[in-house]
Amino acid sequence: MAVDQALLDLVTQPVVRLYRWETPTLSLGYFQATVDSEQHLESRGCPVLRRSTGGGAIMHDFELTYSLILPAELVQSKTSELYDRVHRTVAAMLAEVGLTALLHPSRPTVQEPIEHGRSSNSSAVSVQREPFLCFQRRAVGDLILWPNAPTSGTHSADTVLGHKILGSAQRKRDGAVLQHGSILFQQSPRAPQLLGINDFLPTARRCDAMDFGLELIERFMSQFGWVWESSCLTDQETNVAQDYEQTRFSSPAWNALR
């Protein structure tokens, strides 16, 4: 995530990254309280870091993280359209393997009681207390899987809310945008409340996360007429990323910011 942040600072052309995590890791949304992660028992003991993007916590385990970084001149004023672009592309790919996934159409529907504000010298507040995990929240444009029936495990049939399998969030800087997203591929013991794409597919048709991601990039880029090529970080990008890693994503002060 330090690399994503460095690329946001230095972006001159669209960049897409795909990655998975060596160690199952919990990432908090930028405004989430660290203390909330202590209430999520299944992920206890996992490394915790704070993203610079918004939204809820992600358990990075059996999932694929993508980041999309666009320079200001390519960003539309309604940046939420970027969510839809990626999510519709994934929905189309899932349709090809026989799964129905739809963009969530309305305002959040899953909420806990209102949390009272807290103030200090610096003022920050959460106006409504949403579920801790991103994938238990519902926001406009989230990609929700509507399976006929799960094929593995014993799960409560979620016929009302469906199963969110892709959520994205953004950080804006001087007009440029970093969009993070997570595609769930499989249920994790560290977040057993959530099912992934492969939990709804027979073994022979299960998706390889990285292959899926590469196909997603191809399709996403072709929508814009962009041709992508793989590249390495420049020395400058590497230096800035190392700085962010030290000052933010490996820093207890940053990760326990709230």
Partner: protein
């Protein structure tokens, strides 16, 4: 305050400067256009009284539609007042962005050199 009487940054913050006790005091907020573009604002973080702000540099952050955005200061100076209560009721930002939706009052050392008048700012918004 009327939108027409304010100055703006390209990044959508507004500022009104008045003389108060021989000192220039700036009131700062974010424009109606910004609030509309951001959508449903769910979190806001503001600095504290006594902190310094610098023209063109970040003074706070908002989250809306899972997107975190920075807010930039139109002036350099020391913060005299913070509208802390607004973070408990962010709907004020859309209901009354230029009066009850103010965010900071700052003792002005200097103004940004990039302030736009209303007509120019409006033109910028319309070109989006």
């Amino acid at each position: 305050m009327k939108a027409e009487d304010l100055k703006y940054l390209e990044s959508h913050e507004w500022v009104s400067v008045v003389e108060h006790g021989g000192q220039q005091v700036a009131t700062i907020g974010i424009s109606a256009f910004a609030v509309e573009q951001l959508g449903d604002i769910v979190h806001m973080e503001l600095p504290g009284v006594g902190d310094s702000v610098t023209a063109g540099e970040e003074f706070g952050e908002v989250e809306s539609v899972k997107a975190v955005s920075s807010m930039y200061s139109p002036v350099t100076g020391e913060i005299l007042e913070v509208h802390s209560a607004i973070v408990d009721d962010l709907s004020v930002l859309s209901d009354d962005p230029y009066q009850k939706g103010w965010l900071l009052k700052v003792k002005v050392d200097s103004l940004s050199k990039s302030l736009l008048d209303f007509a120019t700012y409006k033109q910028q918004c319309e070109s989006h």
